[in-house]
Symmetry: C2
Subunit: 203 residues, 2 copies
């Protein structure tokens, strides 16, 4: 899903390495700009200017703002992804950490919240991205919960399929309330308390 | 919150009665148009034309599209509100019915989903409306859950304050998944199963 970025530090690089690094730099610039001023207000010119490249160079790599958007969302997934893919309770603990990070990058969280909602419209440029993303995330979570259930790590009666949808929904829905009123809750602790109730051992 | 609408059937009415009825007719037209084509694509002209009034007449009652939007959202709350304010398990059952109705009015559900997300931006015209709405809904739900807990209707360990936020979040988050993929779940049954796990008696 995320592009592989060769991290060459030598002076001479092949054309692919240069392209991949430039794409990465553009996405990181777009990431910062969108997180700060939002998708609608973020301009392609600002994103190019921030890293000292021409607007036309940016357009060579990303032909439209919605292409950039898709790339930024993939980058966000990459940042949001836990460093090591821990199984079981460790994976649930990592979800809490993802939410804690979302609390620290409120601009990006707002961007994500708005885009995922707008993308429910089948005509939106990110519709397929979000549809695929949710299908994948829910399936991964369900698989891990099934493994936990088989190993007796979940409370009796917890349904992995329903819980995979619910945990995902809870993370999205809590975001709306938190973004509307930052004082209303600690999202990470809200989620942790919920996940704890599903598990036999301490999260 | 919702305006009071004098339902006079006599030939002569005071100016206020006429105004209230016209506002109501405009809101119902806007409700239909927004639900069908979305907020962004719904035009003030279409809304006026649908009920045979001039565009300028509409502007006399609602000066902007965002004024209309706020009115439509209040009307939606009114429609969504259960006929009788049942207490306890009956109230939870009514939440399931609200979700079932949301499944039957997908266009409006999409509108609500997008608007509530967009309104997390403090500069959005509906920001204060949504902020107030969530504060109110969560507080009402918490109060009812506290009453249920005091009467032994909730399972041990269920925290009314956390659950009021969670149930609200779950309803919002499930909507995103369902709107992206209608085949992914029966939202009403997903919610019912969750609420059932909180309660001692059958929902």
């Amino acid at each position: 899903m995320a592009e592989s970025t060769p991290r060459s530090t030598s002076g001479r690089r092949g054309p692919y390495a240069g392209t991949a690094e430039r794409r990465r730099a553009i996405l990181e610039s777009a990431f910062e700009v969108f997180a700060k001023v939002g998708y609608r207000n973020g301009s392609m010119r600002d994103i190019a200017q921030r890293i000292g490249i021409a607007h036309t160079t940016l357009l060579h790599h990303f032909g439209s703002k919605s292409d950039l958007l898709a790339g930024v969302l993939e980058l966000r997934d990459e940042y949001g992804r836990p460093g090591s893919e821990e199984p079981g309770v460790g994976m649930l603990r990592q979800l809490v950490e993802v939410v804690r990070r979302n609390q620290e990058t409120a601009g990006l969280t707002e961007l994500y919240c708005i885009l995922s909602a707008e993308a429910t419209d089948p005509g939106h440029p990110a519709h397929e991205y979000f549809r695929g993303r949710y299908t994948r995330l829910v399936a991964q979570l369900r698989e891990e919960l099934e493994r936990m259930a088989a190993q007796g790590e979940l409370q009796a009666g917890v349904d992995p399929a329903l819980e995979a949808q619910r945990i995902t929904a809870l993370m999205d829905g809590l975001q709306v309330q938190w973004l509307l009123d930052r004082e209303s809750m600690d999202m990470a602790e809200q989620l942790r308390d919920y996940l704890q109730r599903l598990c036999v051992t301490r999260i």
